[in-house]
C-alpha cells in the first residue's frame, strides 16, 4: 500500500484549492460584497485606532508609529488563519446538522480534508492593508532595511500567525463537546483586537494567562519586538516560533480528539 506523505498532502491541497477558486468565480457578487466587508472592518479598525490616538498620544510608552507597526503586524499575522482556516467557522453547523460525518469517510486526515475545503480570498485584502501599514510605520520609525531584518520579519510574522491559527482551532473544536459554543469563536476572534496593543499593559496573573494560556501576547507583541527593539529582545520573543509550533500541534490534537469523542448523533 502506498503511503500518504507530505508531498501527497501538498499536491492534494493545491488541487482542491484550484478547484475551489474556480467554483468561487461563479459567485461574483459574493466576492465583491465580502471584499467590501473586509475593507469596512479594516477601515473601522483603523478609525478606532486613529480616534484613540487623537485622545491619547501614547499608550504604555508606545508612540503612534510603533503602535501602527504593531497594528499592521497583527493584521498580516491574521491573514493565514483567514485565508486557509476559514472553514473552522462552519464546523459547528456541520457538526450540529450531522453533515460533518462526510469528512470521516475519506482515507485522508480529517482535519486536512475539512480545512482544505475552503480557501478564503478576501483575507488577501487585509494582507495588503497590513503590509501597507507596516511599510508606512517602518519608514517613519526608521528601522534600517537589511536582508537579515526582512528574513526576521517574515519568520516572525509566520510565527505570529501560528498562534492565531491555534486559537481558532481550539475555539472551533469546542463545538464537539459543547452545544451552542458558537460564542467561543466569536469572542476568541474579538480577543485578537487586543493583540495590537503592547502586552506590557497586562500585569500579575493575567500577564501569565494572556501569554501562555490564551496567547494574545504572541499574536503581535512578542514576535514584533524582534524587529522593533533589536537591541533588547526578550527571550520569549526568540523562542516564540517554537511556542507557536507547540500551540498549533496541541490545537490540532484537541481538534482531532473532538472528532474521535464526538458521537455523531446529528443524523
Amino acid at each position: 500500500m502506498q503511503k500518504r506523505g507530505l508531498i501527497f498532502y501538498a499536491r492534494m491541497y493545491r488541487k482542491i484549492l484550484v478547484q475551489d477558486l474556480k467554483s468561487k468565480m461563479s459567485y461574483r457578487a459574493d466576492f465583491v460584497i465580502s471584499t467590501f466587508g473586509m475593507i469596512m472592518t479594516n477601515l473601522s479598525g483603523f478609525v478606532t485606532f486613529l480616534i484613540l490616538f487623537r485622545n491619547f498620544p501614547t499608550i504604555n510608552g508606545w508612540d503612534y508609529y510603533h503602535m501602527l507597526f504593531l497594528y499592521g503586524f497583527s493584521l498580516v499575522a491574521l491573514t493565514p488563519v483567514q485565508c486557509f482556516f476559514d472553514n473552522n467557522w462552519n464546523l459547528r453547523f456541520m457538526v450540529q446538522s450531522g453533515d460533518f460525518i462526510k469528512y470521516c469517510f475519506r482515507p485522508v486526515n480529517v482535519f486536512f480534508y475539512f480545512i482544505s475545503e475552503v480557501f478564503d480570498v478576501k483575507g488577501l485584502g487585509q494582507l495588503a492593508f497590513g503590509i501597507g501599514t507596516i511599510v508606512y510605520a517602518w519608514v517613519h520609525i526608521g528601522i534600517p532595511v537589511t536582508p537579515l531584518v526582512i528574513v526576521k520579519l517574515i519568520v516572525y510574522l509566520l510565527t505570529a500567525s501560528l498562534f492565531m491559527i491555534a486559537l481558532m482551532n481550539f475555539a472551533a473544536a469546542t463545538c464537539f463537546w459543547i452545544k451552542g459554543s458558537g460564542y467561543v469563536m466569536v469572542i476568541m476572534f474579538r480577543f485578537k483586537d487586543f493583540a495590537k496593543y503592547p502586552a506590557s499593559i497586562f500585569s500579575g496573573i493575567f500577564k501569565v494567562i494572556f501569554t501562555f494560556i490564551i496567547p494574545i501576547a504572541f499574536i503581535a507583541y512578542y514576535p514584533s519586538l524582534v524587529i522593533l527593539q533589536p537591541g533588547n529582545v526578550p527571550p520569549l520573543s526568540w523562542i516564540s516560533p517554537l511556542f507557536g509550533i507547540v500551540f498549533v500541534y496541541l490545537s490540532y490534537k484537541f481538534w482531532m480528539l473532538g472528532v474521535r469523542k464526538y458521537d455523531f448523533t446529528g443524523s
Binding site: M1, Q2, K15, I16, G98, I101, K102, C104, E117
Partner: protein
C-alpha cells in the same frame, strides 16, 4: 483475503445522554443537572457478511442501523465486542479502512457542492490514489451501466435529487472498494429513478464483486437487490437469513383484498393456520356487498411490518 467482509461479535454501543426535564422550570434545573442515563443503541450484535453479498440491513427508525454502519466505517468506536472490516479493526485504522469502503450516507452529498461531477471524480481519484488505468476502466464501466453524459459536467448543486444520488453512488464505487454502504439510497426518488439506481447497484455488484450493505425502508429495494436480510430492532438483531426463508416463515399468511360495490378496496392479513379465509369472506359479505376478491401471498412489506410489530420474537 478471507471470505468475510464484515465480522461482528457481541458488539455493543452505548451513549450517555442527559435526562431532560419538562417545562421551563425543568430547563433551568437541567442547567445544573448531572443526571445522565445510558442508552444502548446496539446490543450484543453478532453477524457476518460475506464478500460479494448484497445485504439488506433493516429496522424501524432508531433501531440502531446508522450506529452499526458508523461503527463499521470507523467513525464510532464500539463500547464492547469485536468488529472486523476487511480483516481490520475499523476504528483503529480509520484511514486504511476508508481505502476499502465506499459510503453513501443519508441524503447528504459528499461531493464538492459547486464542482462539476467530473472534477469531483478527479479529486477522488487523487485522494484514493487510483491508478489512471483503473480509473478509466471504471468510468467506462459507468458509461456502460448508466447514461452519465448529461450529469458529468454539471455542478452537483444544480442536479436533481435523483442525479445527485446517482452521482454519490458512482463516487462511492469509484476507487473499487471491497464494501459499499448505502443508507437509504432511493429515498424520495421517482419510480423510474429508483429502478435505474437498483439496476446500477446490481450491475456494479456483479462486475466488481463488491459487497453492498444497504439500509432502506423501501421493500422494493429489498426485493430487487437482496437475497439475505438482517433485521435489527431496539439495538438487537432479530432476524438474519434469506428473504425466502422469511417468507416461508410467514408462509401461512395471506393478504385478502376485498372490493366493495363502490370500488373501494379493503385489505386483511390472515394467518391460514388459525383462520379460514373463506370464513372471513363470508363474514364480510354479511356486512356489505362484495364485488371482487383477491387472495395474495404475503408481500415483503407485510412480512417486515409483522416483524417490526413483534411477530418473529
Amino acid at each position: 483475503m478471507s471470505n468475510e467482509a464484515v465480522v461482528m461479535k457481541n458488539v455493543c454501543k452505548d451513549f450517555k445522554v442527559l435526562n431532560r426535564h419538562e417545562g421551563l422550570k425543568g430547563s433551568i434545573q437541567d442547567l445544573f443537572s448531572r443526571d445522565y442515563k445510558t442508552v444502548s443503541a446496539v446490543k450484543d450484535v453478532t453477524l457476518t457478511v460475506n464478500r460479494g453479498e448484497i445485504i439488506g440491513y433493516l429496522g424501524p427508525n432508531g433501531a440502531g442501523k446508522s450506529t452499526t454502519i458508523k461503527m463499521m466505517t470507523g467513525v464510532l468506536e464500539p463500547t464492547s465486542g469485536e468488529l472486523l472490516v476487511n480483516g481490520k479493526v475499523p476504528y483503529k485504522n480509520r484511514t486504511e479502512n476508508c481505502e476499502n469502503i465506499g459510503v453513501v450516507f443519508g441524503q447528504r452529498s459528499q461531493l464538492w457542492w459547486s464542482l462539476p461531477l467530473i472534477e469531483s471524480f478527479k479529486l477522488l481519484r487523487d485522494l484514493y490514489m487510483v491508478p489512471e488505468k483503473d480509473y478509466e476502466e471504471m468510468i467506462e464501466l459507468y458509461r456502460s451501466l448508466v447514461d452519465i453524459e448529461p450529469i458529468l459536467h454539471k455542478p452537483v448543486r444544480q442536479m436533481s435529487l435523483g442525479q445527485r444520488t446517482l452521482s454519490d453512488i458512482l463516487a462511492a464505487f469509484l476507487h473499487n472498494p471491497a464494501i459499499v454502504f448505502l443508507d437509504e439510497p432511493t429515498i424520495g426518488l421517482d419510480v423510474s429513478m429508483k429502478a435505474k439506481i437498483r439496476e446500477l447497484i446490481l450491475g456494479l455488484n456483479k462486475e466488481k464483486n463488491t459487497t453492498v450493505i444497504l439500509t432502506t425502508h423501501d421493500m422494493g429495494d429489498v426485493d430487487a437487490l437482496c437475497r439475505r436480510i438482517i433485521i435489527i430492532d431496539e439495538g438487537t438483531k432479530i432476524y438474519d437469513n434469506d428473504i425466502e426463508h422469511l417468507k416461508n416463515y410467514f408462509g401461512s399468511y395471506r393478504t385478502l383484498k376485498i372490493r366493495r360495490t363502490d370500488d373501494t378496496w379493503e385489505e386483511y392479513l390472515i394467518d391460514e393456520k388459525t383462520t379460514d379465509v373463506m370464513d372471513v369472506i363470508m363474514e364480510k359479505q354479511k356486512e356489505k356487498k362484495i364485488k371482487d376478491v383477491k387472495i395474495l401471498e404475503i408481500s415483503t412489506e407485510e412480512v417486515i411490518k409483522k416483524i417490526y410489530e413483534g411477530g418473529a420474537r
